[in-house]
Symmetry: C2
Subunit: 338 residues, 2 copies
């Protein structure tokens, strides 16, 4: 059954049903009491005094994803995680979400229901209940997610993690492993069938997890500077360097890299871990003692990978052969002609 | 200069500059103090206890607009008004906005700056400061706006206007004039050059105004049921009838219609006023006394056009010849094959 056989109203009804059947997280519903839900001109809720965050991320077919290589449930999940990760990078928690879908009308309804299942799964796991949305006609399929977050701390002063507070001499740390998502994508795209299958790398790509608990912990324990790694380490550390007007120096040997990534991509793992996107880990800076405390306190692995320098806008990468590469913090560009 | 000549980072810098140069409304900045603005993973602000609303609207090139017939400043303005009008339909005021732009990269940078000028103009006039956004690569140009609104009333109980509270016997009223935007569009698209130019109708199409003060007044004066007229009177009154499980009866002779619309479209004005979209007026229901009070108190014209009936899902239209047409409240459908 295709969208243009059932029409917009029936589609919206089915997608709303999918959301309510698959959304199970309601621990926030006692704080943020919903007054008007899906199906009106806007959603309405009670809000206590505090601090909020707001972000948006759009994924476009054939640019950010390819439905031949990702199943629609994973696509819905990943669309949510992109925004949940932005909220995590502020030290906040996801609260409410709107989803806009651009559709030609020729899509299978089941495909869209699957996307919404993934959306509801990610909202159930990490927060960000869907309270509104829009379906519009478009030649190109796209998903645009906007998400509101809240500061779960009791402080009357907000202390969001920012990109602009890195200081020379601080150390640079990251959560989790780097390059795993990019490695997983390469395995999924492998047409020769010669690459070993690493479930760990593939799942890093298809089911990334936003570092929400970690972000909240960091904001509450003296860390002020962080970004999420969505475009790749160099690009996102570059955002910090740009906003803080600092440089950075990192050591390849220090990067946390999955053993599968090294063994499957012996000549490419360095590049994948430096510039592979969609890991949705956090990169953050701070005094050595604060970072050591994070390492010993957090469940998620935290690794020191280098330091902040005064050499704005240079990001130096010391590689394993003792030589060094240098990048500018302006980083990767999606539009510029190469 | 095209987007792919300057790249994403320079584009974002230029668009942020356009926003800050053209945004002048900051009366909210003392209540909702901005902690982190544009340029981080998410925007952050202080929020007092109260009630909020959240909505999203997406406009796609060649579906919702055609850049041959609308100038980009007006396009930016209208993209904002679509969401501001949703917030108005709840009786709330616009607070913060995110803007996602889908771009091929071949667009002129000046075109995008003009779109953002229009966005900033509408935010300055009606609220909804832009605090975040996203630019993504897409074959199809689109603009997706998500907007947060707040309840400006001092009540501890929220009293949003809803679609679901219309009752049999209530009267139906609308603000402003109907069909003007659709009439203005016809004049703009007129290739024969024979239609008289009505500045009033054209401006209704290119510079619609959301009914924010009116929505706030209605919510504070006993009205509980409203929707904005974005898809046309029959479609949006249909949303009320669907959500409230009621029918409606309206009289063509009672519809507020601009004199220019009647004179320029003598055989089509009825159709335009019943089903023309993008007027961004409000349609609302209530007891006769409440509506009469709105008529005498509000600056904006309010007109009674009919009544709510028990004949769900039928919307009866009594036309000037004394005959009647009947519509189902499921209304207009964007996807369904005709």
């Amino acid at each position: 059954m295709k969208v243009n056989e059932i029409g917009e109203f029936e589609l919206i009804r089915l997608l709303s049903k999918t959301l309510s059947e698959h959304y199970t997280n309601n621990e926030l519903d006692t704080i943020y009491s919903e007054v008007v839900g899906l199906g009106d001109d806007a959603a309405v809720w009670d809000v206590p005094a505090g601090h909020q965050a707001f972000t948006t991320d759009t994924l476009v077919n054939d640019v950010h994803f390819d439905l031949r290589f990702i199943n629609p449930v994973d696509l819905g999940w990943k669309s949510m995680v992109a925004s949940q990760s932005d909220i995590a990078a502020m030290g906040f928690r996801p609260l409410f979400t709107t989803v806009s879908l651009g559709l030609s009308g020729k899509e299978e309804v089941d495909l869209l229901k699957d996307i919404y299942k993934g959306v509801a799964d990610a909202a159930s796991q990490f927060g960000g209940k869907v309270v509104g949305g829009d379906t519009v006609k478009s030649k190109t399929l796209f998903i645009s997610i906007s998400m509101l977050g809240y500061d779960p701390s009791d402080d009357s002063q907000p202390n969001p993690l920012k990109r602009s507070t890195a200081k020379t001499g601080e150390v640079v740390a990251v959560t989790g492993s780097l390059g795993s998502s990019a490695g997983g994508l390469r395995i999924l795209l492998d047409k020769t069938g010669t690459l070993p299958q690493s479930q760990q790398l593939i799942e890093s790509h298809t089911r990334p997890r936003p570092q929400i608990d970690t972000g909240v912990w960091l904001a509450g324990h003296g860390i002020t500077c962080a970004a999420d790694i969505s475009d790749g380490l160099i690009a996102d550390l570059g955002h910090i360097c740009e906003a803080s007007k600092v440089g950075a120096e990192i050591k390849i040997d220090a990067l946390p890299v999955d053993a599968d990534l090294k063994s499957i991509f012996p000549s490419d793992w360095e590049k994948l871990s430096l510039s592979g996107g969609e890991d949705y880990q956090l990169v953050f800076t701070g005094a050595k003692e604060s970072i050591d405390k994070a390492i010993s306190s957090l469940e998620t692995p935290v690794t020191i990978i280098g330091k902040i320098t005064g050499d704005y806008p240079e990001i130096r990468v010391l590689n394993s052969q003792g030589t060094q590469d240098s990048y500018s913090s302006s980083g990767f560009d999606h539009f510029k002609n190469k």
